[in-house]
Structures are given as structure tokens and as C-alpha cells.
Symmetry: C2
Subunit: 378 residues, 2 copies
């Protein structure tokens, strides 16, 4: 544990919601649980709350450590903490694991109350709109009528945007980082290959692998390895690994030979050991379906018309998963709709993953933005 | 069969080579066979021969049809034929299936003369240099001392480059299209994911699937689906499929939903039915290993120093597998080495696959280049 500017030891908390949630698909979750973490204190006016929405493989553990022995902090610890860009001395920060996830919130690993066994593949498909609705119930529970800000990168940014459209009165700022107003054809194509890798793994057992004491590890490994390539920039990957090999001579076999192979296979294995395949499938489908303009005849300007929150958009130059052009699409729509919006196009060699990394310009931009939000609180 | 400007009905031919071929790996092929096709006539001076080198999944069937009922011609039929850019009225064109392939040349599907059963995973790994050596033996057999030109796209272009470096006296022109002087880290990373998809398919049986009457179709499908995304441009894919769906409403399941999914899965299935998994593994490894500068301390200028052939390079703007920048690396090295080189950077929305497609500017450039070669023959 590195204690400097850190929220310190944190403890997650599971909240149960007994009122039914009607999902976009028409299915109903009669009850559900959300795993959350909070940092900082909610002020007397209850107006300093910040919601952090996670991306594909994130969860509620956004900052801090679980114990003094813990090697790694939460996934956005460089961003959130005392004195950090999102300053927990001033803001009450809430992280949650989304519905359908595999880190404590209701999802495929949870027991289906009707059958008494884990949902597995029977857990209903959830969408970004469903997440926003469940997060609004969470806000109600925490006594937060209006978030000071909702912030997320990638799929997390999509949730911030959907909040701003669907529940305009319930947030003052949305920070949409390394995101897009909808997936491109290429994004959908990569997601489908990832899903096919999982679904055609013989150990997938039509999603009921838990009943057979199996895990579709092969498929999940392949999906993650491929995904990982799309998170990194060609340039950054080249600088980091180049054509380095474990041995100078060619080996003429299929063992790990190039350094990048070792890195990718490690990432794939780590992920397959830690993530649930059904959750991964659900999350990629939520990405595919995200398209707030769809309810407005495909017109994004119409979709953002009802937004009252101020919008902050950031993109990274080498991000080819959600390129700066995708952020600009959203920017253009917001400007056309006469909305308050601020956009920063950051330089980076770190590709899509740049949103998770510490960078002076990036963090300064977020810090300044939150300083301004803090000023509104006084 | 569309007969206009076509070489017509063609017949492949298998040639047996009984002298041993020492491979770059140190292994020796005591004998081997090459499947070839030829179009046009070798002239009396034997100086009008053009060798076509194929890419990852290509073969010897470059132009023409096998029968009047044949639906599709050879893979580069739009480029090669009477009156076409590579005019078979003037040139004698040779296509071959490379060693290690699965369309008739010696490869994993061939019977190992030592064991009497198919080589399978025991077929030795071959490199671009090995292919050049086997192609030189083919030239000897055909009585071709010097090729008028050697031409290829992608991995095919790498063979043309390696020929120019390794056997400078044996060709007058090399056409290197949509290629690169070596793979990038990202290219290697995608190849490793593809190989892992195949190797971890339970039906792969460590490459001896033929002994178990199995085929690692799942892995090959995934590898090809992913590969296919990298052959197409984001922009072209978007124009072709966008976010079109089979049905307007979201289906909330994992069946084919978006049009691009249907397209990709079809491509994957078609490939898995037609291509051998061990061949695919071999070919991707030949790509990874290709690096002609490596023998010259990593100095590409040194590597191309011995070239005497004239070089033609073409790239396509939306090709992100081997981007125009990769062609320019090669161009820069050739210019630095004071070589005769001509480069055309073509505009296209078709990504890497553009090299296979008919395009006016592209085909005119090739036509003009071959007209000039033809003038040298007189």
C-alpha cells in the first residue's frame, strides 16, 4: 500500500433493492443488489457527490486498498483521493459494480431467487439505460437528489452521457472521457469475435458452465487478448515491446517468442482467472446497444437537446477504439444543440487505456474542472 | 465464368523437386512438391516471366476458371489476363502455392515420406527466405534465369522484396504492394491471438487433428474473423454495414443481430471449411519472422544495398494492417541506398484488402509499369 494522497483502507458495501427494476428488454428484476464503495463525506447540503461509472471490466473498487498488504489500489486511484484531481477532501465519491457484473452486484454469478441456483446465462441482458436507472435508485438510497458530477471513461462515459440525457435534473456535470456516442461497425465486429470465442469454447456449456464445474477460460483469454490490443496504441505497443524476443535466435515453434506475446498471454490468463464469461458477454452487448440517438430517430442533436448538465469531454490522440473523432461527433451535437460543453483533445501514446493512466495534462484538466465544480458548492 | 479479358479455363500442375531444400530453421526437406499455374507464353528469350507471390491465404490459382461452371475465378483475375494490367498476351505469368500451404504444395496435409502419414504439426516451419529459395528452384525448372518481374501484395510483397535482396541477378523488377519491411508489434500481437485461438481449440490435438478425424474449426473461425477485421478499413466497414440489424428491435440474445456479425461469421465459417489450421499457423509465423534487415544488424538501408532490380511500391490510405507509413519506411531505405524506386500512395476506403480489388488508379499504375517492362523486352 502506498499511502500518499490515498483514500487509505476501504471497505465495500452491498446494498439490497427490493423494489422491482423493469429492464429495457422488458424483463423485470424483482430485486437486486449493488456493491459500492464511497470515499470522502457527503456534505450537509448533499450536493458534493460524484458518481464514478466503470468500463467493461471495472468495478466498485475505484480507489484505496483493502488491506495494508494489498499490492494494488482501486482502478482509478491515481485520479481519486485527498488532494487528487477528484479531491475526496471536498467530494463524496461513489463507485459501484454495475448490474450484470461479477464483483458483488447482481449478475450471472448471483443466486436466482426463483431457482435457487446461480443465474448464469439466465441473467437478463442489461443496457446502459438500465444501469442509469439502477444508479438512480442508488442515488435515492444514499439521499443524493443531484450528483455534482458523473464521470466515466469508455463505457463509463456512455453512462455519464445517458444520465445527462435521461435524468437531466439529477446531475450538474457529466465527464465523458475516451468515449463515443455509439459503437462503430468495427467496434461491434471486435465484440462479436470476442463473444464467439467465449460462446464456442466447449467449456461454455451454453452459459451454464457453473453447473458443470467448468469455466470457458480459453474463450475468455482469447477475447481479452484481442481486446487488449484494441486498448493499446500501435505506437505505444511498439515503443514498449518492439520486436523484442525472449531469445535472440528464432525458435521455430509456437511457444512464447516475442515479448508482446508474453505480455498478452499474461493479460489474457489474469483476466480469465478473475472475470466471469457471462458478465463479459453482457457488458459487450450493452456496448453494442448503446445509441442514445436511436430513440430520437438517429438524431444525436435531438437526443442531447434535453441535457441541462455541463459536459466535459476528453479524448486521447492514439485511442483507435474510441478515436478523438468520436468525441468530436458528440461535441458537434452538443454545440449544435447550444449546450455548455468543454472539450480537451489530449496527446498520448497510450491508446484507449490512456484514460486510466496518470498524465500531467490530463490530470490537470480534470483537477481544474473539479476545482470549478467545488467553487459552485460554496 | 465471365470470359471477357480472362485467361479462360486453366489447369494447375504439380512439380516434384527431388533435390533437398535446407530450410532457414536448419531442417531439411528431402524432397517437395509445388503446385503451380501458368498463363501466357514464355518467349524465345525467356525474359517475359512474371512470378506472382501469394499472401496469407492465397494460392497458385491466380487467374482464370477451372471449368465453365466455376463461379469465381482465381484471386487476382482482375489484375492478370489478356489486356489486363499484367497482360498475359505479353507476359508469361506463374502462380504457385507456397511450401507449407494447403492447396497442393508440400505442407502439413502432405504425406511425410518418412512416416507414411500426413505431416500435420511435424511439417517444418518455413520462412519467406525459404519460399524464395523454393521459388528459385521452380524458376530453374521452368528455364527462367531472370524474372521480368516478381509481384505480390502483403506477405506476397515481402517475398518480392526478399527475392530482390537475396537473388538480385534473378529479377529485373519487384512490385511490393500493401506490404511492410517487417511486422509491427501490433501485427505480431494479432497473429499470436489468432494462433492461440487455434492452438487452444480442443480439436487441435497438438496439431495432429487429422489423426483423430477432427478439425479445429472453432479456432480457425475466430482467427479468420479477427483477421478479417484487420484487412478492412474502419471507414469502409462502416459504409458497408453501419449499425444495420437483421431486425429493427434489439433481440437481447447472442444470435446474429448486426449485419456485420453475419458477414464476419460467414467469412469465418467459409475459411474454416477451406483452410488447414497447421498451414495457417505456419504462414503467420513466416510473417512474424520476416525481417530482411535482421541479417544486417537491423539496418534496412544495408539490407537493400545489394538490390539491382527496379522497385515499385504501392500503399493504400486506409490500410491499417500495413499502413502507408510502412511502405514509406521501405521507400526511405531504398532512396537512402540510391536505388531505383517508384512509389504510389493510393487513396482507398477498402483497407488492406484494397490490393485485391479493382480500382482505376491502382490498375492504371500497374498497367503503365508493366507497359514499361514490356518495352524493355523488345
Amino acid at each position: 500500500m502506498k499511502v500518499i494522497d490515498c483514500v487509505g483502507i476501504v471497505t465495500p458495501c452491498k446494498l439490497t433493492f427490493d423494489s422491482p427494476l423493469r429492464l429495457q428488454s422488458g424483463q423485470i428484476l424483482p430485486q437486486f443488489e449493488l456493491m459500492i464503495e464511497t470515499y470522502g463525506k457527503l456534505n450537509r447540503d448533499r450536493n458534493n457527490a460524484v458518481l464514478i461509472c466503470h468500463a467493461l471490466s471495472g468495478n466498485h473498487h475505484v480507489a484505496g486498498y483493502y488491506s495494508r498488504e494489498d499490492k494494488y489500489p482501486g482502478w482509478w486511484d491515481n485520479m481519486i483521493g485527498p488532494g487528487k484531481p477528484v479531491d475526496t477532501n471536498r467530494f463524496f465519491v461513489v463507485g459501484l459494480n454495475n448490474l450484470g457484473g461479477c464483483h458483488g452486484s447482481s449478475g450471472p454469478l448471483s443466486i436466482d431467487p426463483l431457482s435457487g441456483v446461480p443465474y448464469g446465462a439466465n441473467f437478463p441482458m442489461v443496457t446502459v439505460k438500465d444501469w442509469v436507472n439502477s444508479q438512480a435508485m442508488l442515488a435515492d438510497r444514499l439521499g443524493i437528489q443531484q450528483w455534482a458530477a458523473i464521470m466515466g471513461g469508455s463505457l463509463g462515459g456512455m453512462q455519464a452521457l445517458q444520465w445527462a440525457i435521461d435524468k437531466p435534473q439529477r446531475l450538474r456535470h457529466a465527464l465523458i472521457i475516451a468515449s463515443a456516442p455509439k459503437l462503430s461497425t468495427q467496434n461491434i465486429a471486435f465484440n462479436d469475435v470476442a463473444r464467439q470465442a467465449i460462446i464456442t469454447d466447449p467449456d461454455f456449456c451454453q452459459g451454464q458452465y457453473h453447473l458443470h464445474n467448468l469455466l470457458p477460460r480459453r474463450g475468455l483469454r482469447i477475447a481479452r487478448m484481442m481486446g487488449h490490443i484494441t486498448y493499446l496504441a500501435e505506437d505505444g505497443l511498439g515503443r514498449k515491446f518492439g520486436r523484442q524476443r525472449q531469445q535472440d535466435n528464432y525458435q521455430y515453434n509456437y511457444n512464447i517468442e516475442f515479448a508482446v506475446e508474453s505480455y498478452l498471454r499474461h493479460q489474457g490468463k489474469k483476466f480469465a482467472d478473475a472475470f466471469d464469461a457471462n458478465s463479459y458477454l453482457l457488458m459487450t452487448k450493452a456496448l453494442d446497444y448503446f445509441d442514445p440517438a436511436r430513440e430520437f430517430g438517429g438524431d444525436l442533436v435531438q437526443a442531447v437537446q434535453r441535457i441541462t448538465a455541463k459536459i466535459f469531454i476528453a479524448s486521447f490522440s492514439s485511442d483507435w477504439r474510441f478515436s478523438p473523432a468520436r468525441s468530436q461527433e458528440l461535441l458537434d451535437a452538443l454545440v449544435s444543440a447550444n449546450k455548455s460543453v468543454q472539450y480537451i483533445a489530449l496527446e498520448s501514446v497510450n491508446g484507449h487505456d490512456a484514460f486510466l493512466m496518470e498524465d500531467k495534462h490530463y490530470h490537470t484538466a480534470i483537477r481544474v474542472y473539479f476545482n470549478n465544480i467545488a467553487r459552485e458548492l460554496i
